[in-house]
Amino acid sequence: MRYVYLLWLIFLFVLPISIIFVYSFLEPQIYGGVQWNFTLNAYRYLPKYLNLIWRSIWIAGTATLITLVVALPVSFYIAKSRLKNFLLLLTVVPFWTNSLIRIYAWKIVLGNNGIINQFLNLLGFGPVQFLYNPFAVILVIVYTYLPFAILPLYAAMEKIENSILEASLDLGASKMYTFTRVLLPNVRMGLLTAFVFVFVPALGSYAIPDLVGGVSSRMIGNEIVRQLMTIRNWPVASAMSNLLTLIALLSIIIVMKRRGKS
């Protein structure tokens, strides 16, 4: 069965991604599709989207940073809590809830006549435009991927012996020092895994910027789909996809290398 497993992933995962790879070196046809002439034109287009690529990176990066900063204390607390299993369940349930509904929930909360704006109206501030900007996209990315960061960090925190932390405190280190010099180095691997599991999918977000983002917060994923479905330039869509795949590949190689070492 391991060969069935391997072949399945080769035919329905590696092969399709290779098709994208090949298409990126071909010429577009007017109504979609490709012409089998080798060219690097699609890649010459990419610098035009430098702005978009940079924006995707900073939106995903900021969201990842916030996610990790929140996930660290939460996972630490869960690992040390007696209610461990219950708290883990509370963390997983939102991850189990349909992702579109989670995005939609934020539309209700943040919308122009949403809950927060109704409250602001009562206080006499006019409606504030919360949706359709990078802020909304970052917020919903954090909301969506927070469980993905908490779980690997929790797994790493659980392995740390309490006595190590206590020793550090007994020897006169401050809580902050113990946190940065004793706890953090010990959860390095969990932190790296959490980073990859949040940053890479966040960078490739499609549904979130599509539903709560505006023109100023479109990301690479949206542009790939636009190039493929609307502009029908398959090679450019493919070249952009390769850029994302490359980032994903590099990150997985780094994690696997590190894991092998430790």
Partner: protein
């Protein structure tokens, strides 16, 4: 080191952050007005959901078919592969692990459009079959990993003992390994099922006309004219998830 007040506050705020938006959707599903301003209690949206929204029920049916078929197949292939990897060293092991990690990080959009290009190259008609193939593909690495991690807690001595007592390979597999694996297998199935029921982006690209799944239906309802029946459907899904989570919490712990 016991967590201080600061950490406790962060944890409480995080839980509020997790659940408040969901709670608001549930409250809104009972709101008489179409806008989020509260205008009194009503069950109208639930009545509409059950009496008028035929397309919702049809897409729900499609989602169930896809989720059941794809998670059964993914769990089966994933489980047997995990057992093989655990039991005997194989030359393709490192290739398998590389291919297992990869789909976790390749963004959904790319998995979706690459499958779309594959299916269109093979001239396959988009529909439930293509959706099922796609769903098996993205859930197989999860099922394999969950079962494999469950196997790592497994005491190899038990297998040795079974062999010493004269068991054959097949007996060890059916009598020793599989019964001990049940929680892992159930967890793998549940995760594959949830991933399938939840998926929007990949399905969006490989679904054809007439094979709309529930997330795609909800997407078009959110996108084009919000009717509060979306709140009613969402409420069912949120409550259902929480309910299932609690019933099955025995298995949930194997998922991480």
């Amino acid at each position: 080191m016991t967590p201080g007040r600061f950490i406790k506050t962060v944890v409480i705020l995080t839980m509020v952050f997790f659940y408040l938006p969901l709670a608001i959707v549930i409250i809104m599903s009972f709101n008489a007005a179409k806008s989020p301003a509260w205008a009194g209690f009503t069950l109208r949206w639930y009545v509409e959901l059950f009496t008028r929204e035929y397309s919702v029920w049809n897409s729900f049916k499609n989602s169930l078919i896809v989720a059941i078929v794809s998670s059964v197949i993914a769990t089966f292939i994933g489980t047997v592969t995990a057992v093989e990897l655990y039991w005997r060293k194989t030359r393709i092991e490192s290739t398998i692990w590389f291919l297992t990690y990869l789909p976790f990080v390749v963004p959904d959009v790319i998995i979706g459009i690459s499958l779309l290009l594959l299916f269109s190259m093979l001239k396959m008609q988009l529909g439930l079959t293509t959706i099922i193939l796609a769903h098996i593909t993205f859930s197989i690495p999860y099922t394999m990993m969950i079962v494999y991690s469950r196997l790592q807690d497994f005491d190899k001595n038990i297998i040795e003992a079974a062999y010493d007592l004269g068991s054959t390979d097949l007996q060890v597999f059916y009598r020793v390994i599989i019964p001990n694996l049940v929680p892992g297998i159930v967890a793998a199935f549940l995760l594959a099922f949830t991933l399938s029921i939840d998926d929007f982006v990949i399905t969006f690209f490989v679904a054809g006309p007439g094979s709309t799944t529930l997330p795609i239906q909800i997407y078009s309802m959110i996108r084009f004219g919000i009717s509060p029946t979306v709140n009613a459907i969402s409420t069912f899904m949120i409550v259902g998830t929480i309910f299932l989570g609690f019933i099955l919490r025995k298995f949930v712990k194997y998922i991480f």
